[in-house]
Symmetry: D2
Subunit: 306 residues, 4 copies
């Protein structure tokens, strides 16, 4: 396919930027609330390593739940199928249902991308890493090829102060025996991973290993084998956008992961990785302009996984 990606990203930038006016910047912590809703960034990197960008692609933002892909990949790589003793791999329905399901299903979260699931992943990471916060950051830096990526300490503190629901989830799972470390230790790691800051350029690069059948494109290292790479992308497709995953698969047709910081990163296997950032969210907590841009991307290029 001979798409002029730079031109396409610029076109998507102008066509979809104003969709942000229909949404609302996350306001549950001050550090997110004060971000201007005007930011808009798009970065695409091809499996050959060519990077195209438009807008604020050099401004770091809080990746929030996008980090769940990184922590899951680290743990999946380390312990493989054992992870499925502790977490499921089915879509969860609404946040409302996820709580009922935890009760129903003995404290086993439905998948690694709902909060409960990512908290169990953090618990697992504590079991085999001496210094999981450093290991996780190193892992992300090595994927993005950029050592400047860091945690935002102010965000960590805010997450901790407002994270009552995550405390509730962690204690609830601990009552079922599905959290092995102290809730404080587990959530300290979890709140840190949510507070990683990256640019769309860095994010697109860091997700490119998925489009390379699991290999770090910078050094050829196998992060996940092809079969596990397929599986991780299937999880992203069915569960990557909270309760909007089905709708996103329907409209866009790309495995992807979103965060309440306004970022979304998607992958077309063997082809490319695409990261978009616009802070204003729809009522389901996903970036409204980023989804619109993603949908137009697959429509205009008639390129999707389907």
């Amino acid at each position: 396919m001979s798409v002029n990606y730079k031109k396409l990203l610029d076109q998507l930038y102008s066509e979809t930027k104003d969709f942000a006016r229909l949404g609302k910047v996350a306001d549950y912590i001050p550090a997110l609330e004060r971000i201007s809703g005007d930011h808009f960034a798009l970065s695409l990197i091809t499996e050959k390593g060519l990077l195209y960008s438009s807008g604020d692609h050099t401004i770091p933002f809080s990746i929030q739940s996008i980090s769940k892909v990184f922590s899951f990949a680290m743990v999946y790589r380390k312990i493989g199928t054992e992870i499925w003793n502790r977490i499921g791999r089915e879509p969860s329905g609404t946040a409302f249902n996820s709580l009922i399901q935890l009760e129903h299903e003995g404290g086993i979260p439905r998948n690694p991308f709902i909060n409960a699931g990512a908290i169990v992943v953090a618990d697992l990471m504590l079991s085999f890493c001496n210094d999981p916060k450093t290991s996780l950051l190193n892992f992300v830096q090595s994927l993005a090829g950029d050592e400047s990526i860091a945690y935002n300490p102010e965000v960590v503190i805010s997450e901790r102060e407002t994270g009552h629901r995550n405390y509730a989830l962690a204690h609830f799972m601990k009552s079922f025996g599905n959290i092995h470390h102290t809730v404080e230790d587990v959530l300290d790691l979890y709140f840190h991973q949510c507070a990683i800051e990256m640019t769309t350029d860095q994010l697109a690069r860091a997700f490119l290993f998925l489009a390379k059948e699991g290999k770090n494109p910078l050094n050829g290292e196998e992060i996940l084998n092809p079969s596990r790479t397929k599986r991780l992308q299937a999880l992203m497709l069915t569960s990557g956008l909270y309760d909007e995953s089905g709708d996103f698969a329907f409209r866009v047709g790309m495995p992807a992961k979103s965060g309440v910081g306004g970022g979304i990163v998607g992958v077309i296997p063997r082809q490319l990785s695409l990261a978009i950032w616009s802070p204003a969210l729809n009522e389901r907590g996903n970036s409204i302009a980023a989804i619109e841009a993603m949908e137009r991307f697959t429509t205009y290029t008639t390129n999707s996984i389907f």
Copy 2:
């Protein structure tokens, strides 16, 4: 890719046939209960129209919920996006949850492939077809290129006699105003569509339009445009195997639809359609040997949508 599909299907036949011993033939109606669990059939058709088969590929069986793809395609083709006023497009979680969600979400089923959703589709079909039972059968026959495909009247009667839960769903949605015709008329159509009988050869052919970007491969007629074809396959991926959809996407990585008759049909866009039948089901109501064969198919060919 130069796979010898005939040889591969024969290999899958012998490797996975015995998985049926771990499952159980559906027993809620006599017409299904008396089917031998020994049947096993695999049919694959390429986008070029080459058909490969193994096992009992000429024996018709009850397609049950696989019919939901046909009825949905007919209605989606007719009324387009209006359908989303009456049905959602998110995975439903468990059957248990689907009932709660109906209550929560004002009688709007989560997607067209859970029973509640397919019942709404039947209600919609009654609104624009004079003789929906004939129209639906004609549609399936034209896709498969085979006029011998028929309803099994004995199965229709059994479905009606044991369908208390479907009656409950239909009345419940009617209480929310989301069923416009009488419950008897809607369920009569619904029970008929579940009672269609087809062989795996016929099923593989009838699903090939999805791999042809929406065109009937026999006559070039556009069933759905490419964008809607993409969307239908996204629905199949996120919701095609009941509460096992996430797991199936994870293990197999193919849009597919299953039925309690033991059939599963999957598609790899622009490449092929694959129908497998083995009557013994796992506890989530999907054919245990068919899933195993599908997983090995994508693993051996390293071919999936991811």
Copy 3:
């Protein structure tokens, strides 16, 4: 206690009549919708048989769910403790929960006063009565000492036409095997019992057997033995006012049963029975002025079961 009941009822009439303005007459069927919200009636009968009334105490109204006490008493008298194999005796929480609970608890309704429970009671009545509609009416007539009490056929028809949710409940329980007759037969009886019309004078009389330790005050016949009479009143206290039962016990402190026709009947054991009718309902489906009058009754007389 030497309360002047006539004077007290008149006082309650003037003090609480206007509370009806805060409520809304049931509008789901025309026959109820057209009732004037201005009606207000209070009737009290002492265990000695002295009747006191105020307001529209000679105008019949639709007793609706109040009939559940009559049908339950008939069946409990007939089959005794066996009834608990088919129905529970715990409060149900919200209507929303009652559906979840049916699913959770194998189709066994939580108590005989939620709709699902009363539908099972109707199913039981069909098992031992040749002509249950006549038997039920005769039973009510004998308790009230008044053969003019009748079904309103127009209400029966309306209930049937709008009763989709009750059809859903009945089919749902039938799917669990907890309805033994046809849904049509069961609901025909159920819709009839809801359509009984009575005055507050008749209702107060008909509930007096509960204040007489189970004996029909008109002829001394034992309807229920003292132990079962106690048990029925305990059910009324914990479950007689839908999701407002706890609040009513808290505010009023009297076993009682309400209906969406606007009637409430309460009992103080060994003392009296009190029936009040005001058609305007609060958001939980109970008569707003009747509850207010009942609360003032127990507060002014400092007489309750506590």
Copy 4:
């Protein structure tokens, strides 16, 4: 009524002691697990102050959830109807449902006797008491007329170590803004109140104020006015025995409160208070022999609130 209560308690002791064999001593903390299931104690005190006892009535045991009546009475006395801005007064159905209901109902627990409700009561106590642990103990001591009543520090520690579900509830309600102090402070008080130890003699005395229309029988002090006393007893009747409250009202017909230590205390207004202790619990967490003895008590005396 001229019942020989001493003889009756002795009779109940021998008749119902062995029901304990059908149950199981609470084993979630060591301090409860090691209690012998052979203990059995019954104490009754009349509104005139006459005390009758049988069995181990001088051995203190962990009152656990029975303490919820004491803490609620303290807070209700202090802030009156304001308490209903923070807690409901409806039965909760199952523990399972109580969690769903918290989500549904904005973090407002259904009543003060489920754990979530008692945790909110503890939070309220922290708002108006300088030293709530001392105040609560003094309150209980003054009702029982016995300054030896104390917290068991070992039980407090065990509760804290195993109380993950209570932590989850508290954090969950805090996420809705319905917990105003730190979760640690609130649960420290809550775990203490559960760890109060009393004998059945002390418990019967301490509940007698309810049978005296709210007055402390020892000094005539008004704990609650008659109307609030009625209301508290209504709450006990509809919600005092967890998910067995309806059944207990049905079988026994007495406002009561149970604890997982095996104690149950019931009241017949204006007559008596009855405390029974037998550590073996049924599957719903209530003392199996104590319930049986209570039922026989109301059956033999034909005395209940109904």
